[in-house]
Amino acid sequence: MSDSVQARAGREGKKNDLVVLLTEKDAGGIEISVKSSAGQMFGSQIEKTARETLENLGFENCRLAIDDMGAFDYVIMARIEAAARRLRKIGGPGCLPDRKVDYGPPRKERLRRTRLYMPGNNPDLMINGGLFGADSVILDLEDSVSPGEKDAARILVRNTLLTIDYFDCERIVRINPLSTEYGAMDLEMVVPYGVDTILVPKCESAEDVMAVEKIVAGLEKKHSLGYEVLIMPLIETAKGILNAYGIGGASGRVVALCFGAEDFTADIGAERTKKGTESFTARSLLVLGAKAAGVQVIDTVFSDVQDEEGLIASTREAMALGFEGKGVIHPAQIAPIHSVFSPAPERIEYAKKVVSAIEKARARGSGVATIGSKMIDAPIETRARKILRLAEELGLLADDDGEAGGKTGRVS
């Protein structure tokens, strides 16, 4: 075997990342050289982690050169495994870091006002992704990862799921479409290791959902997960919009339908505008489809991170249409979106009045409740109770004698 059998992995010069260069040898054991920005403080730990990873992956004779920019162990392991898999076929699950987090089974019912997208191949962004108060985080294997890095990203995302604490956030992974060579491998790599929800891009039909469900269910069984991983279809084509109701009802695992404006506008041949006229009908149809199927519906991202006013306007519009959340591409967008989706104090007060009027009426044995001269019918009660549930979940209900606290994560 010649020295030319080698593989590289990792992103050069990026914070919390490293580049590894792995070379097969015929003999001489494992040789490791480490260059690191944290060299003096972590050099020997890096070497130890690297050696254990290589042994674990079945390497006996090789040379490994590490150029490190402050990566944590699970990232070092992921990059070495990526290089190893580029060199040869690795059987078994790979080299898994110890599981440091355990959240219990995925929760279907939960707030999904904000879903923070993070590129799945960038460790520095994913480390702190759980700190910003988003309802969900999305570790992305699709559009933010180039074709040549798909393999490395899915290993990194797996290790991230096992290591990084996302606290109360729903952990979503956006896989590649099953129609690509990556989709099924993505599922295999993330389903067993703590993902709550699979975000399925370019979803166009109930069959697309069922295909994902079939693989997911198989993996759950194989790994004896004991719970069901959820599915969140991302609708980004005209066909998907027209099939929304069927997609929403395709599986009991579906929790929400999401809209993707960028691909949608490309699909229909329109320009994407800030105002969003070109997708107005599609978004309305998506809301109808999702609601008819009994699942949540979530709007697209607002892509101008600097424009907070525009973000708020866009979120208000989404809420008016019936959406329950938006995608988020920067943590600074979270607080403004939450503030829009948090019920205003007047609405909470009114909802309280509604419920109390109804309860009083029922106690009297009367079927009819009124506030002033206005009759309260069933939909008004439903909406009021929904607002109070949301307010309670957000900690916005005042105690008997105390002040209402906020949970919007914002200085106000």
Partner: protein
């Protein structure tokens, strides 16, 4: 070697100088007499204008082993330090002590003069490459790091005897009156040069903007100046105003700033009369100002004063009426420079009034909230701003230890920088003792010094993630692992001096591996 009150071992004597070990942040009470400059007379000062910098230097009569001083208001754009030291080297001088109020990367050429023995050591402050040279043992004597207030004290008390002070002056007259408000090298405040002008044997004002008498305000008074000379340029205007004054775009640092602002809100500080603060000009601090400004607008609170470093964000608050006074120690950008010249309540200060410990009081304890950064903080809240965790000396103290006299001193820093945790079991070097540090704010939680029960009580019911510093340490180390310690030689290459002149820690020469 004797242990100081923090248990750090301090030599009894170094380079023939007796050392006093640190015994507590407020243990010292003065005593003795101040140093006195020589008496001069009017007949000798008919004409102070020298034909060139060379003539001015020659007029100072500098000899081997003497001490020369500089201020750092021109920051990384400064040409004066290199220019003067080059000329001193040309004269064959050796063993000089350099007393700059700070050095910047632009001063890297000094290393040659250190290696050639022109400079024996530095007292005051070191940053970047010169700090590294010190750590590697390139100075023949031990350096001394002092805060801005500590530098004033040392000059005033006679610990430093300046033979020649070189004062870069963006606007000066031929009598020696000068300020930094105007001219091609305008840098705003030049207050750090005050002590030098009062106590030096010889004071040289160097300008690239000589104006007819009088130049006013006379921040440095001509009556304290021996020589005036002109040069083509004091520095590079682009670099004089550093590029640090931009709000951070890092979501993690923005989160730290947001927690810092929530801390102010939830402790009720804004509701007390006469709120005041000092926040500096780092990325986190500027983001903090943005959040603070929003809160002040909402609550209608106006701060009585803010301590500079002034910058655009602070000046905007002054002009909007959110702050009544800026008491400024240095200007970080051109907006700060302009405001200092124009706004009647933007006041120029110097370390005598703001920071010096051996005076009849100063501003520092009047500040309600001081926000500072740190390289390391340990579970006893001791802070290191001088050395990197690999043991290498990289930063001066600046105003750090002086600001710790604020009523609440906050460290705002990322819990992890790359893989490196900011919290250690024991800091590599102590710059400030835990007793003066009240709260640590990181992206993963806020830790209050347990001695500040009053703050903890005020935070009850706050939705801030309040944790113990030990818990934060566990979180950090859980991700990073425990870093190894640097290895040192025995030789002490620098002393870290507390504000009162006692020694709080030493820095030892780094062992060069391989």
């Amino acid at each position: 070697m004797v242990p100081n009150s923090l248990g750090r071992m301090i030599p009894e004597e170094i380079d023939g100088r007796k050392l006093r070990p640190f015994m507590g942040a407020h243990a010292g009470h003065g005593g003795g007499r101040k140093a006195s400059p020589p008496i001069r007379a009017v007949p000798d000062y008919a004409d102070k204008l020298r034909g060139s910098l060379d003539e001015a230097i020659d007029a100072c009569g500098i000899r081997d082993g003497m001490t020369v001083s500089f201020h750092h208001h021109l920051r990384n754009g400064d040409h004066v330090v290199n220019m003067v030291v080059d000329k001193l080297a040309e004269r064959g001088l050796k063993d000089l002590t350099l007393v700059p109020s700070a050095l910047f990367p632009v001063h890297e050429p000094l290393i040659r003069h250190i290696e050639n023995g022109v400079i024996s050591h530095i007292e005051g402050s070191m940053n970047g490459p010169v700090g590294k040279a010190c750590s590697l043992g390139k100075m023949s004597k031990a350096c001394i790091l002092r805060s801005h207030g500590g530098r004033y004290r040392a000059i005033q008390d006679g610990d430093i005897h300046i033979d020649a002070a070189f004062i870069a002056a963006p606007a000066a007259d031929s009598f020696g009156n000068c300020n930094g408000h105007s001219g091609p090298s305008a840098c705003g405040v030049i207050g750090y040069a005050l002590a030098d002008s009062l106590y030096a044997e010889q004071t040289v004002v160097i300008t690239d903007n000589l104006q007819p008498f009088p130049v006013y305000p006379w921040v440095i008074r001509g009556g304290n100046v021996d020589h005036v000379c002109t040069v083509d340029r004091l520095g590079d205007p682009e670099q004089i105003i550093s590029g640090t004054t931009r709000i951070t775009r890092s979501p993690t640092r923005q989160l730290i700033a947001e927690y810092a602002a929530k801390f102010v809100r939830d402790t009720g500080m804004l509701e007390e009369p006469d709120f005041s603060f000092q926040a500096g000009a780092g990325g986190i601090s500027l983001a903090f100002l943005k959040y603070l400004g929003d809160m002040m607008r909402e609550t209608g609170v106006v701060a009585r004063f803010a301590r500079g470093g002034s910058n655009k964000y602070l000046v905007d608050m002054l002009e909007e009426g959110l702050i009544e006074y800026i008491l400024d120690g240095q200007c970080f950008d051109l907006v700060g420079v302009r405001s200092l010249g124009e706004h009647p309540r933007h006041i120029e200060t110097d370390p005598f009034t703001s920071y010096c410990y051996h005076t009849k009081g100063n501003f520092a304890p009047m500040v309600k909230l001081g926000i500072l950064g740190a390289t390391e903080i340990d579970t006893g809240f001791n802070v290191n701003v001088n050395t990197h965790s690999d043991g290498c000396l990289l930063h001066g103290i600046g105003g750090f230890t002086d600001v710790t006299d604020s009523q609440v001193t906050m460290i705002a820093a990322p819990l992890l920088r790359g893989r490196l945790p900011v919290i250690t079991d024991s800091v590599t070097t102590v710059t400030a003792p835990g007793e003066v540090i009240d709260v640590l704010v990181t992206e993963r939680g806020v830790a209050v010094n347990p001695a500040r029960e009053d703050i903890l009580a005020r935070l009850e019911g706050s939705d801030l993630p309040v944790r113990t510093i030990g818990e934060l340490r566990e979180i950090a180390v859980g991700l990073s692992g425990v870093p190894e310690r640097p290895e040192y030689e025995d030789r002490v290459v620098a002393l870290i001096e507390w504000r009162d002149g006692t020694v709080i820690d030493t820095v030892r020469q780094l062992k060069v591996l391989e």
